[in-house]
C-alpha cells in the first residue's frame, strides 16, 4: 500500500474506484490463513486426508484389492524370473559322492529356479547338519551357478557303540558316518565302552604312543568313563591307570621290548597301580605253568 504518490491518489478519487479496504470477511479469512496452524493444516493435513480417503475408498472393494495384490505378485515374479536371476545348476566341490548326493536331495527347490527363491542361509544350515560335513560355503556365482564348497570331516577313529554298530568319528569326537564293516577301514583303531565317544582325543594320543604295539592293537575300551584298557589280539589286555596312562603304556612297551612280555601267554597286564604292575596269566598258561612246574620239580627233584 505504498500508493501514496499524488497522481495515484488522484486516480482513486477521480475514477471513483472502490475503496481498497478488504471486507470484514476477507480480512478475517486473511488473518485465519496467516495463522500457522490453519496454514499447515490446509497445506499438509488436508491433502493427506484427501489422499488417505481416496485410497481407502478405492481399496474398500475386495476385488480391487485382490487384483492389486495379484498384479503386484505377477510383477514380482516377472522380475525374479528374469534370466539374470535364474540359477540353473548346482556345483558341489569337496564332497564325496554320497555326501554330494545327499546335498542335492536337500535342495528345497527344483532347478532352474530364481535366486530369490533360494534361501542360502537356511540351505547352508541344512547342509551343515549333515554329520560328514565340517563346514560349507554357499554362493551364487555369475552365470546362474549355485556353488557349494564343502569341507568334509576326516574320520580319525572307529567307535563301537553299545548296540554293536561301528561309527566313524573325527578327531573332535564328532560322528562322521556309520561303517557297515570293520574291514572297510582297517587303518583306524576302534574304541568302545560307555562314554568313549567323548574321549576320542585321549584315545588318539594313546594310540599314537602305542605305535610299537600297532600291529597287534585291536582297540581301546573305556572303563567306567575314566580309564582305558588297551586290547591286543590273542585277548591280551593292558589296563592303564586313570592318571598318566602314557607313562604306564611306555612302561609296558619298555617291558615288552626288554622282556618280550606281550608275546608271552599273558592275559592281562594291570598297570593301574604304578608301584605294583601286575600280570595275570591266561588259563592255559596257568595250567601249563603248573604242569611244567610239577614236571620240573619232578625232574629236578628226582
Amino acid at each position: 500500500m505504498w500508493a501514496l504518490k499524488p497522481h495515484e491518489r488522484e486516480r482513486w478519487q477521480d475514477n471513483g474506484r472502490a475503496d481498497p479496504a478488504p471486507s470484514r470477511l476477507a480480512y478475517r479469512l486473511n488473518r485465519l490463513w496467516l495463522t500457522p496452524l490453519v496454514r499447515s493444516a490446509t497445506r499438509v493435513g488436508l491433502p493427506a486426508l484427501v489422499l488417505a480417503l481416496a485410497t481407502g475408498l478405492y481399496l474398500k472393494d475386495d476385488g480391487r484389492r485382490a487384483h492389486l495384490a495379484s498384479g503386484f505378485e505377477h510383477l514380482k515374479r516377472d522380475l525374479q524370473e528374469r534370466p539374470e536371476f535364474m540359477v540353473t545348476l548346482m556345483r558341489i566341490d569337496g564332497a564325496s559322492e554320497a555326501v554330494a548326493a545327499g546335498i542335492r536331495a536337500m535342495l528345497p527347490v527344483e532347478l532352474p529356479a530364481s535366486s530369490f527363491r533360494i534361501d542360502l542361509e537356511t540351505f547352508r544350515a541344512t547342509i551343515a547338519q549333515i554329520d560328514a560335513v565340517a563346514s560349507v560355503d554357499l554362493r551364487i556365482r555369475p552365470g546362474g551357478v549355485l556353488q557349494v564348497d564343502v569341507t568334509e570331516r576326516q574320520a580319525a577313529i572307529l567307535w563301537r557303540t553299545a548296540a554293536g554298530r561301528l561309527e566313524m568319528l573325527d578327531a573332535q569326537g564328532h560322528r562322521v558316518a556309520t561303517l557297515t564293516a570293520r574291514d572297510a577301514r582297517p587303518d583306524l583303531a576302534v574304541i568302545a565302552g560307555e562314554g568313549a565317544e567323548d574321549h576320542v582325543q585321549d584315545a588318539l594320543v594313546l594310540i599314537a604312543h602305542a605305535r610299537p604295539l600297532a600291529p597287534r592293537l585291536r582297540g581301546l575300551i573305556l572303563v567306567g568313563e575314566r580309564r582305558w584298557d588297551l586290547v591286543l589280539d590273542r585277548d591280551q589286555r593292558i589296563m592303564l591307570p586313570e592318571t598318566d596312562p602314557i607313562a604306564a603304556l611306555n612302561h609296558v612297551i619298555e617291558l615288552d621290548r626288554a622282556e618280550d612280555l606281550l608275546s608271552r601267554d599273558v592275559a592281562v597286564i594291570d598297570m593301574r597301580n604304578d608301584y605294583r604292575p601286575t600280570i595275570r596269566l591266561s588259563e592255559a598258561a596257568i595250567a601249563s605253568l603248573r604242569g611244567q612246574t610239577v614236571d620240573k620239580t619232578k625232574v629236578n627233584g628226582q
Partner: protein, 443 residues
C-alpha cells in the same frame, strides 16, 4: 481512577503477552495516513556492563511488515467516521500482515488529537523504614493529589518524572536511598474519553487486542529527538495532517504535551480554495511545488494547475510559485504562531535548552526551518526519526516519526504509574487481596 488503572495494566499485560509471542503491530492513526508496522522481537540481546548496546539498544526488534494507507474518516487526529476508519485500519493491517507473512493479534496505537492536556502532580510520603523500597514508590505515586481534570477525560500517560528523597532531588530511581521523606513529581496527560473509546472500538472491530496507547506528540518526540536533546531539554513539534502536536522533553521525560488542531491538511484546503482546484490536486501541487520563501526565481516558475472541467481557459490555468507560496505561508505562520502560544503557555522559555525539533509530514515543506526559526526561536532543526532495523526506505521520512516512536515505545516503555503495584491501602477495605498484600508486604 482505579478503572483506568486496571485498563492500563491490562494493556501492559497484553504487551507482555505480545512480547512473548514476539510479534506486535504498531498503528499510527493519523489524519492523512494510517501507518501499520509489524515488529518482530528476537528477545533481548545480552546485557552489557555499561548498559549500551548495538543500534542504541534497538537491535532487539526489527520491522518485518510495513504499510500505509490513505486515512479516511479521521479529522484533527480524532476518529470522525467510525466505519471508514475501521476499513482504513483493516487495509493497513492486512497489507502489513501480508508483507510480514504473519498474523498479528496485538496492536499499540497512537493518535494526535483528542485535546491532550498536561498536569504536573506532586506527592510526598514519609518513609517508614528509613530506606526507599518499591512499595514506597508505589505509595508516593498513589499519594499524588490528582487534579480535577473534568468529566469525559481520561489519563493517557502518567510518568513519574522526578523523585526527591529529603532534600536531594533529581533521582530517576530512588529505590534503596536512605531518608525520611520521599517526594515525586509526576506528569499526567489526559485526553478526551470519547476519542479513545472510538479508537478502541475500531481496533476491536478489527479483531485486534490493544497492547498500549500513546499520544503521538509523545512518541514522535521519542523518535526524533536525539538523546542529549531529550536529556537537556527540547520541544518536538510534530506537524501532522490534521493536528500539530507539541511535546517538551527534559531529563528523558516528557514534561508537557499539547496539540494544536491545525495541520498540513489546512494548507491543502487553502490551496484548493484559493486556486479552485480539487483537494487531491492541491495536495499534489503542495508536495511538489510548495514552499514558504518566495524569491525572484519563483515569479518565473509557472505551475500548471490543470483541471478537467472541459473549459479550455480553466484547464490551462497557470500560477507562479510565488502565488502558491503566498497562499501557503500565512497558514503555516498561523500553525507556528499557535505552536508558539502553546510553548509560551508551557513555559518553554524557562527551560535551559531552547532546542526545537520539527518533524511530521508537514515539516517537509522547503524552507520551513527558516520560517520556524523566526517565529519559534533560533534553535530549530528538522528532525527525522531514528533508524530502526528493517524499516523500509519509504517509511524513514519525517512523516513516520510517530510510527517509529511507537516502535521504541513498544520496545522500551517508560515507567508509568500503573507499572507499580497498587499499595494495599488503595484496595477496598474488605478485599481478600488486601489481606494477601498485607502479608506480602510484611513478611
Amino acid at each position: 481512577m482505579t478503572d483506568l488503572y486496571q485498563s492500563q495494566r491490562a494493556m501492559r499485560n497484553m504487551r507482555q503477552a505480545a512480547m512473548q509471542r514476539g510479534v506486535i503491530a504498531i498503528l499510527d492513526v493519523g489524519t492523512s495516513k494510517i501507518a501499520c508496522l509489524v515488529l518482530k522481537f528476537d528477545g533481548p540481546e545480552p546485557e552489557r556492563e555499561d548498559g549500551l548496546g548495538s543500534l542504541a539498544g534497538q537491535s532487539q526488534f526489527r520491522v518485518i511488515g510495513a504499510a500505509t494507507t490513505r486515512s479516511r474518516g479521521v479529522r484533527f487526529g480524532e476518529i470522525h467516521t467510525m466505519q471508514e476508519t475501521e476499513r482504513a485500519i483493516r487495509t493497513a493491517v492486512q497489507a502489513a500482515q501480508k508483507m510480514a507473512q504473519v498474523r498479528v493479534d496485538h496492536v499499540i496505537a497512537c493518535f494526535s488529537g483528542a485535546h491532550p492536556r498536561s498536569y504536573g502532580l506532586a506527592g510526598e510520603v514519609q518513609l517508614a523504614e528509613g530506606q526507599v523500597s518499591e512499595n514506597d514508590v508505589a505509595r508516593v505515586l498513589a499519594a499524588c493529589d490528582v487534579p480535577d481534570y473534568g468529566q469525559g477525560r481520561e489519563v493517557l500517560h502518567a510518568h513519574p518524572v522526578n523523585f526527591a528523597v529529603d532534600h536531594r532531588t533529581g533521582f530517576g530511581d530512588p529505590r534503596g536511598h536512605v531518608g525520611n521523606r520521599l517526594a515525586v513529581d509526576m506528569h499526567l496527560l489526559t485526553v478526551d474519553t470519547p476519542a479513545v473509546q472510538n479508537l478502541l472500538y475500531c481496533i476491536k472491530r478489527c479483531d485486534l487486542e490493544m497492547a498500549g496507547l500513546a499520544s503521538s506528540a509523545y512518541v514522535s518526540g521519542l523518535a526524533s529527538l536525539v538523546e542529549d536533546e531529550q536529556e537537556l531539554g527540547a520541544a518536538c513539534i510534530d506537524m501532522g495532517g490534521g493536528a500539530t502536536g507539541v511535546s517538551i522533553f527534559i531529563k528523558k521525560h516528557m514534561i508537557f504535551a499539547e496539540s494544536a488542531r491545525l495541520g498540513g491538511d489546512h494548507v491543502t484546503s487553502d490551496i484548493a480554495k484559493g486556486l479552485q482546484v480539487p483537494v487531491p490536486v492541491a495536495e499534489r501541487i503542495k508536495t511538489i511545488h510548495g514552499g514558504v520563501h518566495a524569491t525572484g526565481m519563483d515569479d518565473r516558475e509557472m505551475i500548471e494547475i490543470g483541471g478537467d472541467s472541459g473549459d479550455w481557459e480553466k484547464d490551462r490555468r497557470k500560477i507562479s510559485r510565488t502565488e502558491l507560496i503566498g497562499i501557503m505561508r500565512p497558514r503555516i505562520e498561523e500553525i507556528l504562531e499557535e505552536v508558539r502560544a502553546i510553548l509560551d503557555v508551557a513555559g518553554f522559555d524557562h527551560l535551559p535548552s531552547q532546542q526545537i525539533v520539527l518533524t511530521g509530514g508537514a515539516s517537509q515543506i522547503p524552507g520551513l526551518d527558516g520560517l520556524a526559526a523566526r517565529i519559534l526561536g533560533h534553535n530549530v532543526r528538522l528532525g527525522r526519526p531514528l533508524r530502526v532495523q528493517g524499516l523500509p526506505q519509504a517509511a524513514t521520512g519525517a512523516a513516520f516519526s510517530s510510527s517509529v516512536g511507537l516502535c521504541l515505545f513498544a520496545a522500551h516503555p517508560q515507567d508509568e504509574w500503573w507499572d507499580f503495584e497498587i499499595p494495599a491501602e488503595r484496595y477496598p477495605a474488605r478485599s481478600l487481596r488486601r489481606a494477601v498484600r498485607w502479608f506480602k508486604d510484611n513478611w
